[in-house]
Symmetry: C2
Subunit: 80 residues, 2 copies
């Protein structure tokens, strides 16, 4: 079973990497870009076979290792 | 209008970062983790107002700047 964890900086946290990407896009001629925020995601391959268990396990992993809950928020999605 | 670009290493490209995360999860007691692949995503805020234009613009940005088409693949999603 496959799950995805999307991790982003919380909206109140400044994202310098996204800022640089936004500036680079404007420099490249994409004047319509207003803002860019960058995040990361993890695709986790699990041996669990039911969706509820997989979601619970992966949420725990995100809390413990994949995201820093002080400055980041995350979303877990289990693929069918 | 907001669009998201998800960038991942192509399946044939070795992902050492994902490998380390998978090993760390197993060490933390998640023996059911078989594999992890890590990717990144960009949330782009655009002034374009129709979905087709936004998608075309952002796909062009992904090709030019956000992804390295030699080793990475990407997926563009425009949020309503």
């Amino acid at each position: 079973m496959r799950a995805r964890v999307y991790v982003t900086l919380k909206p109140s946290v400044f994202d310098p990497q996204g800022r640089v990407v936004a500036d680079a896009l404007v420099t490249l001629g994409y004047q319509d870009v207003q803002d860019v925020r960058q995040g990361k995601f993890f695709e986790v391959e699990l041996s669990a076979t039911d969706v509820a268990t997989a979601k619970a396990r992966v949420t725990e992993m995100a809390d413990k290792l994949l995201a820093n809950p002080v400055i980041e928020s995350y979303r877990v999605e289990v693929l069918p």
